[in-house]
Structures are given as structure tokens and as C-alpha cells.
Symmetry: C2
Subunit: 237 residues, 2 copies
DNA sequence: GTGCAAATTATTGTATACAATTTAGCATCG
DNA sequence: CGATGCTAAATTGTATACAATAATTTGCAC
């Protein structure tokens, strides 16, 4: 059909189906803490909010449930995931398990350009740390996760990258729930240390720093059981 | 209240929602090679096959796409995943990356009862290896995967367990596509060696054996490009 | 006969309608 | 006054109908 060579420069595969857009929007809202854990996500409400039918809303919620960000209960509805302390520990155990290996793969393939991109991300992260306010803190959490995601991307393994996306998103949820200090997501200097180790091709040091970094984040959590979920003060929309 | 199991030919009476049952059925069919990679899974056909509407069929296919067993292409349809050689390598790279860590966690928690269960599974696996025929070979592949899944289950980390389920399923697809000898899925003795190492609490040895085992499986693959069916898809990309 | 192009067909994308299940409120009874 | 059973509202589960998009076929011109 399109025998013209002008077409392939515009691979608009980002024309994703509606459900995927809604899924991304809700995921961002969850990760950025605009949606509190435990919030009920009624299909009708979601659909109405995005001006689509329940069909798409349902598909989006279903997708999010596969990522562990939403828990759907049969005949009961969908809720923003409310990870238990045990679940939180497992999420970070998973990260300790996979991130050193991912970092090792990344270190073996990283290019100078990618190192510069990492530095750039770090700079952005630092800038956000300087600012104050809710939105800055949210962006800070996001930037902190993006560092790990970029490392996963550099590793070149799409499967691990996807898995890390899930882990980082769920980590944000955990941090939102159990994080104590606003510094919980930072580890800013630790990110920098890891980059430095990468620049020096010191893979073992980088992996050690990564492990320490993850442990540091987890140590800043208060993983006591919270049983009284406060009513939806989350509806401050 | 659930004594209504008299629907003819429709055992759709379990706790799971219909879409989940269909998803499981198709997944089993894929993993057991009853559905060849690249097979088109039309929503109407799937729905008709299970006597449900397209809605449920679509949900099941969507779910399988999140597991990487089915690839749905916008406005084109769903197909049994046809992993490329590169994808296959990434799958096994991921397994090499995570399985030692999972095994380590499992070794630290394993109980005598669980060790016996592993031995039992091994026995079953060996019995299937002795038999001949397609169905035996299929069951053998499945049993081989079940060993790894049981280890993941023993590790106690639900997230890693879920991830391993995905990796094992996709591995079966890869083996079905690129496996050369019927021994590709075996590694039967290697499973036994790993169990022995576990019994002796020799974690490092067990991890080493696991790495070797995975490498062995991968080495038995013939990861050359196959463009046999790729009429449409060859032109697409 | 070959190549392009428009119409046709088939399949997916989305919305709406109906059924089943759960939750809540209320009335009744102990 | 409290507990219990029933009715009603709301929400999810599923099916069907319609719209949009891609594949196929057919027809026409060269």
C-alpha cells in the first residue's frame, strides 16, 4: 500500500487504544499519590471521569490489577492497592534480588551518551529536591523511580525493564503508604554514587551501592500494621 | 449454594470469573503446545469455543497479552506469541538473573516437607520422561517448569513467584518453537542435583547448579531466525 | 496479463442494555 | 432496645449491538 518511503518516519504506535490511555492516566495518579491506597475505583465513576463507557474503564482497571496497582474483588469492585507490610517487604526483597543483576547488565552495555543521560536525570532530581510543596515531592518520587527505570532500560532486557516498571510503581505506592521522612525516596547522593561507579566501570562497587541504596529506602519505611484505614479523605480532588 | 453443577458441557461454576477460566484454559493450551505460536486467536472464535460472548474472550486474551503469551495488535487481532530469538534470549537472561536469587531465598526457608515435595515432583518428571508420545512430552515440559515454580513458591515471595510463572510459561513457548532435542526441557538429573544441594544446605552449590541448568536448557535451543510464516508480519516491520 | 483502486467482507473497538450479586436500609419480631 | 429477615438500591458480570478500522476481493484501465 504505502509504497512511499515518507511514511515510516512517523511510527505513531502511541495511538494507543483508549483503555491504555486511561490505564496510564490512573497509574500516574496512583504513583503520584493523587489517588490514595484503598480508594474505590468504581467502573462507572472511572468511565464517567474519562467520558468513556464502563467497558474501557473496566479494561483499564483490569490492566492495573495485573500490575499490582489495583486490586479488583469479585462482585465488589476495584480499589487502589493497599499493600500490606508483608507485601511491601516482598516488593523490596524482589528489588534487592533483581536490581544488582540488572545494573550489572547495564554496566556492561552502557554508552557515554547514556551515562550523560543518567547524569542529566540526576540533576533534574536534585533540582526537584530543592523545591518545596506537594507537587515537588511527588515529582521527586517519580524522578527517583525513573533513575532505576533508566538503568533497566540500559540493560537492554525488555522483560526485566517491564518487571522493574511494575516494581517501581508498586514501590511508590509503598512509599506513599509507609514512608516516614520525605527523604525516603531520595537517596539522591546514592544515585550519584552509583553513576560514578558506572563511569569508573567498577561494576561490583555499583552493585554494592545499589543494594545499599535499596536497603536505605526500605529502612526509611515504617512497616507497622495500619488497620484503621481512614475514611476517604482522599476525595479532596 | 453451589450445587448447580448440572449444566451440560459447561463447568463454568467455579469461584473464578469466566474470563479467568478462559485465560487459564488458553494458557494451558499454549504452554502444552496445543496452540502453535502465531495462531490467530479471534475473539469470536474464542468466545464461540467456550460458549461465551466476545467480551469474556477479549478479556482473557487481554490478560494473556500481559503475560506475554499472546500478542494483540491494534485492529488486527490476537495471536499466540511468536517470540523472536532475541526475545528468547532475554527470557533466559531474565531467568539467569532471578533464579539464583530465588533459589537462595528458598534454600533459607525450605522445610523437610517441601524437600520431599520437590523429590516427589522429580519422580513424576522422571516417570514422564520414560514414556513416549506427544502428550508425555508435553507433560514433561510442564513438569520441568513446575520444578522451578515450586522453588519460587518455597521462596515465599509472591511477586517473584508470579514473575517466574510468566517466565516459565514463556520459556515453554520458546522451547516449543526453538527446542531441538526432546531433551531440551529435561535437565532432569540437574533438577535432582539441585535438590541434593538443597538437602545438604549448600546454597552456593545449588545456585551454581541452577545457573548451569538454565544455560543447559538455553544451549539446546536453535535460535536461528525462522521466517516461515511471516507473510504479513514480515512486511509489517 | 498486470497493476492500481474502490467496494466488500471480516474483525476489532466501543457503547449500551440486561442479569446476577452484593450492600444498605428498613421494618418487624423477640 | 437490639437482633433478624426482607426489600430495594447500587455495582459488577455478561451479552449484544453498533461503529471504525484493516484485509480481501473484484473491477477497470493500461
Amino acid at each position: 500500500m504505502n509504497s512511499s518511503a515518507d511514511e515510516f518516519l512517523t511510527p505513531i504506535d502511541s495511538a494507543e487504544t483508549g483503555a491504555q490511555q486511561i490505564r496510564d492516566a490512573i497509574r500516574d495518579a496512583i504513583v503520584e499519590r493523587r489517588l490514595a491506597p484503598g480508594t474505590k475505583l468504581s467502573e462507572s465513576d472511572v468511565g464517567g471521569l474519562f467520558n468513556v463507557s464502563r467497558t474501557l474503564a473496566r479494561a483499564a482497571l483490569q490492566a492495573l490489577s495485573y500490575e499490582g496497582l489495583v486490586s479488583v474483588e469479585k462482585n465488589r469492585g476495584a480499589f487502589v492497592a493497599y499493600p500490606s507490610p508483608e507485601e511491601a517487604r516482598q516488593i523490596f526483597a524482589a528489588r534487592r534480588l533483581v536490581e544488582p543483576g540488572i545494573l550489572k547488565s547495564a554496566a556492561e552495555r552502557i554508552t557515554p551518551v547514556q551515562l550523560r543521560q543518567l547524569r542529566h536525570l540526576l540533576l533534574e532530581e536534585g533540582r526537584l529536591m530543592g523545591e518545596r510543596g506537594q507537587s515537588a515531592r511527588r515529582a521527586e518520587i517519580k524522578a527517583s523511580g525513573d533513575f532505576h527505570l533508566m538503568v533497566a532500560g540500559i540493560s537492554g532486557n525488555l522483560i526485566m525493564q517491564r518487571f522493574m516498571e511494575e516494581l517501581v510503581a508498586r514501590s511508590s505506592l509503598v512509599i506513599a503508604l509507609y514512608g516516614q521522612s520525605s527523604a525516603s525516596s531520595c537517596g539522591h547522593s546514592e544515585h550519584g554514587d552509583i553513576i560514578t561507579a558506572l563511569e569508573q566501570k567498577d561494576i561490583d562497587a555499583a552493585c554494592g551501592l545499589m543494594l545499599h541504596h535499596i536497603a536505605h529506602i526500605e529502612a526509611d519505611l515504617d512497616l507497622r500494621e495500619r488497620k484503621s484505614f481512614g475514611l476517604k479523605e482522599a476525595f479532596e480532588r
